[in-house]
Symmetry: D2
Subunit: 333 residues, 4 copies
Amino acid sequence: MRFFSDNAAAVCPQVLDALARANHVDTAYDGDALSQSLDAAFSDVFETNVRALWLPTGTSANSLALAALCPPYGGVVCHRHAHIQVDECGAPVFYTGGATLLLGEGPGAKLTPQAIGDAVSGIRPDVHQVQPHAVSITNATEYGLAYTPAEVGAIGELCRERGWGLHMDGARFANAVAHLGASPAEVTWRAGVDALSFGFVKNGGMSAEALVFFKPELAAATLIRRKRAGLLFSKGRYLAAQLLAMLKDDLWLANARAANAGAALLARAAGDRLVFPVEANEVFLRLSAGEAASLRTLGFDFYDWGVGEARLVISWDQSEDAIRPLAEAIAAL
Amino acid sequence: MRFFSDNAAAVCPQVLDALARANHVDTAYDGDALSQSLDAAFSDVFETNVRALWLPTGTSANSLALAALCPPYGGVVCHRHAHIQVDECGAPVFYTGGATLLLGEGPGAKLTPQAIGDAVSGIRPDVHQVQPHAVSITNATEYGLAYTPAEVGAIGELCRERGWGLHMDGARFANAVAHLGASPAEVTWRAGVDALSFGFVKNGGMSAEALVFFKPELAAATLIRRKRAGLLFSKGRYLAAQLLAMLKDDLWLANARAANAGAALLARAAGDRLVFPVEANEVFLRLSAGEAASLRTLGFDFYDWGVGEARLVISWDQSEDAIRPLAEAIAAL
Amino acid sequence: MRFFSDNAAAVCPQVLDALARANHVDTAYDGDALSQSLDAAFSDVFETNVRALWLPTGTSANSLALAALCPPYGGVVCHRHAHIQVDECGAPVFYTGGATLLLGEGPGAKLTPQAIGDAVSGIRPDVHQVQPHAVSITNATEYGLAYTPAEVGAIGELCRERGWGLHMDGARFANAVAHLGASPAEVTWRAGVDALSFGFVKNGGMSAEALVFFKPELAAATLIRRKRAGLLFSKGRYLAAQLLAMLKDDLWLANARAANAGAALLARAAGDRLVFPVEANEVFLRLSAGEAASLRTLGFDFYDWGVGEARLVISWDQSEDAIRPLAEAIAAL
Amino acid sequence: MRFFSDNAAAVCPQVLDALARANHVDTAYDGDALSQSLDAAFSDVFETNVRALWLPTGTSANSLALAALCPPYGGVVCHRHAHIQVDECGAPVFYTGGATLLLGEGPGAKLTPQAIGDAVSGIRPDVHQVQPHAVSITNATEYGLAYTPAEVGAIGELCRERGWGLHMDGARFANAVAHLGASPAEVTWRAGVDALSFGFVKNGGMSAEALVFFKPELAAATLIRRKRAGLLFSKGRYLAAQLLAMLKDDLWLANARAANAGAALLARAAGDRLVFPVEANEVFLRLSAGEAASLRTLGFDFYDWGVGEARLVISWDQSEDAIRPLAEAIAAL
């Protein structure tokens, strides 16, 4: 059974159904009825007036968000292990036209105001050095930690003081919200977030993420940049349909809760082996090479993570019954 | 009835079915079985060894092709009315890192070796002026004209002599091939084309186009650029599935033939009103404002095209029966 | 004798003297006393509060001005024969991060509100097409025509209405001002110009041009872009010294008047051969190949300009006595 | 007396004289006799066939070198304290079109094969991560350490094995060569260097550095990029003249030896206070705030460098007599 990544899972049936229902002629690009309803649908979720754009990938959503928040000659503070730094092949540089990522430290890929301050403390305010213009945090982090509203708020406050933008990479935003029990608003704009990459693909979607601007005025140039990057689908309604299906009846939360529950099951089995607390759908374990091999012999696939550690990711469609054998195998190591 | 654009039409059922059949866990990105079979499938179509990448839009396919053929400081010759010049918001500049489009002239958005020569004749071979590195032609053109293998070959010969790359924007490649009765090979690599944006979305697809390299060595850097642009879908198999469904049993040709037949029906009705010969699925008509209004009163929707002209585009799913009322209305004007 | 170009002429002695006078240790970059005095010196010339930056070339000054006025996804209207379009190897694209030049028409490389309107009239206000954000005019134009304050003002008014920036490429600004008898203010900011590339190198300087912002708020980001482009000289005082030497006692005007006078001498000799009125230091003549050859046999060097035409450029240091033999030779053809 | 930086020093008289001697009309840009003689002059210095381009700043030379060695989607390994990382405001990103600097560690800003290997050891060879294409080292380093031919050669060997390019930032190349007593060839191309930014401005020049390609085929595209960046001076002969004056009779070495001798004088006085061995013209000292203040009271100006340290830089024109008072003051602390 596969525990490699939630981004390889199947698409949930409600999303497939929505594609079928959208299958009739409509206005091209984002002029169709579904695309036109996104702002309202996401404004409902966030309890404020937002602009929401469909995009096909998290990388494109993150990059366009950063391009909206940072000039080509500026810098964006992120964690050294942030996806935008480690796994996007320089996309943020490409989209911003040259911005630099300024790397912060902290356990579990989590930034704090202190860590952000340290990351920029050596920067002289002159034209020789790249100046910070924004911060990007990932919630849940790349190591499955959730920022609480208070933690986001502390960073948001720092950004306000310095005049910086604040982006949240929410590839697993649903998992974070499900874990926190907070409202989407509390963990984003009420805490100072300007733009959110709201992920759906890892959570049961097929090919649609949402870029949500809590400062609606950031959307206008982004609509142009989206086209200029070849990301304006001519049949955009099939992306909008996916997002709307995920929002309907809080399917996004239900899927995330299911994945989180599976991860919690593994966490309980893992006990002291846990590298980080499990606050989303990712489990990082200490596993010797022999232990990893023995789990694989039992048919469980996952990634090694550095030396002596492993990463297990639970998908929306992996039931507790399906995961239990792995939990038992871990407990029995 | 809508004759605005083929890119607003529904998706054909075989494509939707393919999405459902692909709906199980598989390796992420392009490591899945379907994505891995694209090279072979397109190599069959083109009777030579090609590299084929899925991409979500024609703009992204065109732009990555140009980035593979032209350095940031170079130029690409295209027609003044080419889609890459007129309707892609500068995407070729963005993806190439700064290349310049050098504009050629010719009726029906069609280039010739003469027109290309004229476009570059004033360029001194020095560092002060942008030097041409590639040519991009659209087949069928933006005005629905098909380049024959001989016409492409003449341009291909010019490119070989000058050491330039040759790109074909095939947003309506299927329609051109269906019209010409030529093999896909004849109108592309045998005529000197290096890279083809092979369009499927206007022809019944949902969100997948193919970028086909006839020089396989061009693919490696493009795979990187695709990721860097945020275009590497994590669930890439849903794009591959669309392409494979379109290739199966030559569905792409059947769909294009259907659309072309509808356009031919209108062309016969239009007679002297035709601005260009109808060689694909687009019909450009001379229509006074009054005539256009009267057609719209009858329920036919289409774009005005400049003053006194109109564009009608037929989609893969518009049957001759459905189009006949429009044909009769045009004939009766 | 050479009439190829004013940019190959010697440097005037006051500039060389200024270099020698600046030859002592001072603060690096633009922190030295000379660099720090540029704002005041140029504010005097323009009778308003300006920001003035030294730059080594006209191309860099033009490109930085455009980067200040146009976003990466925008367009800049210029004449089809503008230096930024024809002779800067794509530098404006490089510096703006991808902006597109939108080409206007008009005799003598001169734009009018009508020509600008025509250049953008076909642009739909949607995200598929590059939208204009600025206009760039050259004064004196590439064909030696001077825009009057009224002519600039009409374009400035258009820009104000549309919310566009207005840049003036003043590679031969001195020649234009000398011809017009207008004040520098009248032909720039009072007529709506936001940024001026004020040329000195063609007019007796060595390696320093000025980029003058009439909207001082445009300077801050440009100072960063200047560094980021490798244009922030560590010994910047040697550029500032050149500019200050040229401004002192209106040397820039004296030099320009001298060159203009030489051109006027040739213009009178040329009579009906003139392709354009001579309003600066460039003379465009109708010359058959035989006539051109005979002038060259007499020792006069110049560029052919297309077929049957020639360009003669007078430098600041070519006295009327030195030019008279050429004038007589032309008259005698 | 100023010990801030060698880049604020005066220009040496031979360079000023050369400017005066070059002051006559000649072909523009780099078509003049002086510019055309650079390849030969630098080929003599390096005992092999090189291409040498004048450039106004070290940042522009470095950035163009990197653009020649690394694609927009690639990475360049450099030291965390390298000038290209710390003090060029993102210029390498701008010129390469988006390349990423991959940071290595090591005392005194000096890289080793081991440090380079560590910097890239975590990079998976897939499209999600930026792949290294080149290494850039600074000789002498930003902390005044000289790489020996053997040290450069070890890095050169690593680059050859991996297929990477090797750039040397030689802002203080003269000081390193003077210290090493090696030939320029030994410490560059014979050790595997592909491109050298050969600095002259810190060493008595005014506004001219040389970019030297040991792989001559790298020059062609760089000539285009130089123009596209607005760095092709119309009166290029005044840059070439500076370089030729510095090469004549090994003035560059004489100036560097003078500066190094001054630094050595301070080093001897500093004894245990030295943070790094003094192998060029920079001296890093441990100094308490009180000690620093007392030196400043005596009229010596310099930069603090972090907490409890100071940087003193000796210029080509600071004689040992002039420096001796400072040496004595340090010894007396």
